[in-house]
């Protein structure tokens, strides 16, 4: 008979040797850098084009995201339908995304269809038409979507907490509005596009099963001309203007049965030496299923379906944000418990057993996250776009493996002081 009370031997995290598989770099004829992680295990590939076209660079609200969205909706040669049909016909996905810093276009397809899809992607990136009709449909549908979202307490809470932290005029705190959608104009979108989606501001990331002539193909479609001309993107200074008040309660829906709870504070960006340490402390506090917050507020008290704490990955300045949806009657009790957990981490060292577990959990997660070319290129992209290299990655791993309970307590004493936190409940 086996003794089921005894756990099998495990290999400890500190003994895992994690390596970030290298990424090759090529340069197209016009200078566009192409970063490549190959893997021939599957028949699929991912091709991402990245531009400095995020909301940081817009001068009017929503211009960056609207330009990014509408580029795909028609060129001088083809309608939105024709473009969508040729992507759908090949079973491909051409997704666009607009963030604070960057705006991206990402193609996912079966390798065998790539040559048919590159001309379509070229048209989307190089020749969008920004028609009045497409803009009008976009405005109407986005306003409708916003109206629905504004009924959700979590959506409303996310908007407010970022506004308190960064100020409503800062790109991190600015939110969409009916008026901002109404104010969009095709000329502005086109001008923003022309300025930011240029050959000299483009970076390309490819991963997966690539055809042997991948680089010549990219050269053919994106590497021969100085498309959209050379522009200089200046990153403007944006002062952070946080709210003076710290505690907010908002009633959004009188019949709401839950409240969205947010407790948040500023935190330095990823370049600060405390950042990797905070990744560990935050995991202990609210970053995984066994975290202090989950164990207490969900598993002990049953106030919520889930609660977690995240660290924003923003470039200029980061923040720690604790978020949950809790029963209407227990929102205040939830906030009290959040402060209690912050306080405990300030007062007491994390027990060695728990720290050991979190080290192992985090290293196991990273090992899982590095599984496959798409995930590996993602890591490289984050490093490259933030002007970092693999040393940053290895330094984070070293921190996870070696940080002490004493250092964590010190960190908590510095950053987990209740008075520094904004708190918000939206019912």
């Amino acid at each position: 008979m086996i003794n089921r009370k005894i756990a099998p031997e495990i290999k400890d995290a500190v003994d895992f040797d994690i390596t970030l598989k290298p990424c090759e770099k090529f340069t197209l004829d016009n200078g566009i850098p192409v970063y490549v992680v190959k893997s021939d295990e599957q028949d699929t590939l991912q091709l991402e084009m990245v531009f400095p076209g995020g909301s940081w660079f817009e001068t009017e609200n929503l211009v960056a995201s609207a330009a990014n969205f509408l580029m795909k909706n028609g060129s001088s040669k083809h309608s939105a339908l024709e473009i969508n049909e040729s992507i759908d016909y090949h079973g491909a996905y051409l997704n666009r995304n607009s963030h604070h810093e960057t705006a991206t276009y990402t193609l996912h397809c079966l390798t065998k269809h790539l040559t048919q899809l590159l001309p379509v992607m070229q048209e989307v990136i190089l020749d969008p038409s920004f028609s009045e009709e497409e803009l009008a449909t976009f405005q109407q549908n986005m306003k409708q979507r916003l109206a629905v979202n504004l009924q959700k307490c979590d959506f409303v809470a996310n908007r407010h907490i970022d506004k308190y932290l960064f100020g409503e005029f800062h790109p991190y705190g600015r939110v969409s509005s009916m008026e901002a959608y109404d104010a969009l104009q095709t000329q502005t979108l086109h001008a923003f596009y022309k300025q930011h989606y240029t050959y000299n501001n483009c970076k390309i990331f490819v991963a997966g099963n690539l055809p042997a002539n991948m680089i010549p193909l990219l050269n053919q479609y994106f590497g021969t001309t100085k498309w959209n001309g050379e522009t200089t993107i200046i990153r403007p200074q944006m002062p952070i203007l946080p709210a003076e008040e710290k505690k907010f309660r908002i009633f959004n829906d009188e019949n709401g049965v839950q409240g969205a709870v947010r407790v948040a504070r500023h935190f330095p960006n990823r370049y600060h030496p405390d950042f990797p340490k905070m990744l560990v402390l935050n995991t202990i506090f609210g970053g995984y299923f066994g975290s202090r917050l989950m164990s207490n507020i969900r598993e002990e008290k049953g106030y919520t379906y889930g609660i977690s704490s995240q660290i924003y990955n923003f470039r200029q300045s980061s923040a720690i944000n604790i978020h949950t949806e809790a029963g209407r009657d227990v929102c205040e009790a939830t906030i009290k418990e959040i402060y209690k957990e912050l306080h405990t981490l300030q007062q007491e060292e994390v027990p060695e057993e728990e720290l050991h577990l979190v080290r192992n959990f985090m290293i196991g997660s990273i090992l899982g996250d590095l599984d496959g070319a798409f995930q590996i290129i993602q890591r490289w992209k984050n490093l490259i776009l933030n002007d970092l290299d693999e040393n940053y990655f290895y330094n984070n791993i070293r921190t996870i493996k070696t940080i002490t309970a004493g250092e964590l307590q010190q960190l908590a004493q510095q950053y987990f002081t209740p008075e520094d936190f904004y708190e918000l409940v939206v019912i």
């Binding site: 756990a7 491909a92 979507r145 049953g302």
Partner: protein
Amino acid sequence: MIHYNKFTLANGLRVIVHEDHTTPMAVLNVMYDVGARDEDPKKTGFAHLFEHLMFGGSINIPDYDEPLQMAGGENNAFTTSDLTNYYITLPAENIETAFWLESDRMLSLAFDEKSLDVQRKVVSEEFKEHYINKPYGDVWHKMRDLAYSTHPYKWMTIGKELSHIEDAKLEDVKAFFFKYYRPVNAILVVGGHVTLEQVKTLTEKWFGDIPSGEKVPRKLPVEPKQTAAHKLEVKASVPLDALYKCYHMPGRVEKQYYAVDLISDILGGGASSRLNQVLVKEKKLFSNIDCYHFGTLDAGLLTIEGKLVKGVKMKDAEKAVQIEIDKIQQEIIPERELQKVKNRVESMLAFEDMELLNRANNLAFYELMGDAELMNKEFSNYEAITTEDLHREAQELFDEKNSNTIYYYADK
């Protein structure tokens, strides 16, 4: 092609091993052949509540999550109308930890009153978060009730009402466990950086001595063929009117399923799909419209769901949807459009198979449907579909008598 090996333990546990040595990770997936459809109509939501209780400690291991996290692993689970699935991902070196944890909770739970107390509350909050405190969140409760007269798909996996969850007793939990959570009712898939021999040894060691249990015959009430259209008007505090139309469709195991799945993609899959192109982009009647289904094992529902542009009248919106439905019923679908949706399926399957966890989960699911090998035949089932098949299935599917419509009106 997904490669795998299959064997069965003496106690009836079916085991599938999928070796993949390109990854340092391993997955252990256990699927139990029980879902919300197996519930007592007076105790709905139980299969899902039970899933939560599976994390409340087992007979020899007081805490499930801690040792797994210590081994660098992560886990989760989900419950549907048809099945309950548990999965672990962890570094392959530590795979035995997964065997230890998963086998002990198949042997027996701890049946802790405190855990039941807390999880009742947690599930109540989950219920509120997803189905009460969200605009349009109650629509599926209403639609299932409208569309099904008899079959247990009549209620949602989360449960028909909060009180059913609040009333759950520890005896119910025990009875449910020993009825359904037995080796004979489970499928174990182990994938990743493991070998067949290793898995054979570990399975025998950890699962071999668990009492087999008895296979519970499933005798679900069959939903009679719908003979008249059902309609329901709802008024709620939402900003936009919405239209929901559901049609009874074949279950996942039926041959006709594949044609109907392609029909749903023609109507609602991708930006170039018919409903999106005609009703959102050209006629501008809807701000968004989708066509989808849940791929349920028993006969399910093909759903068309859209939000109306403000100012558009419900009857005009519905008429425009009907024109598209008439068109797909009456006109043969162009070859290129059929090829498009087949290409989309091929691509979707390839992207799905990229992740080890999906492969393990799917192998279990196809085995539950009858044979893991079905996974490798899946695309050929789609490839074989002709425009005539689509035409034939569309006739039957979109019969007005087969329809269930909810007019969801904004009261402000």
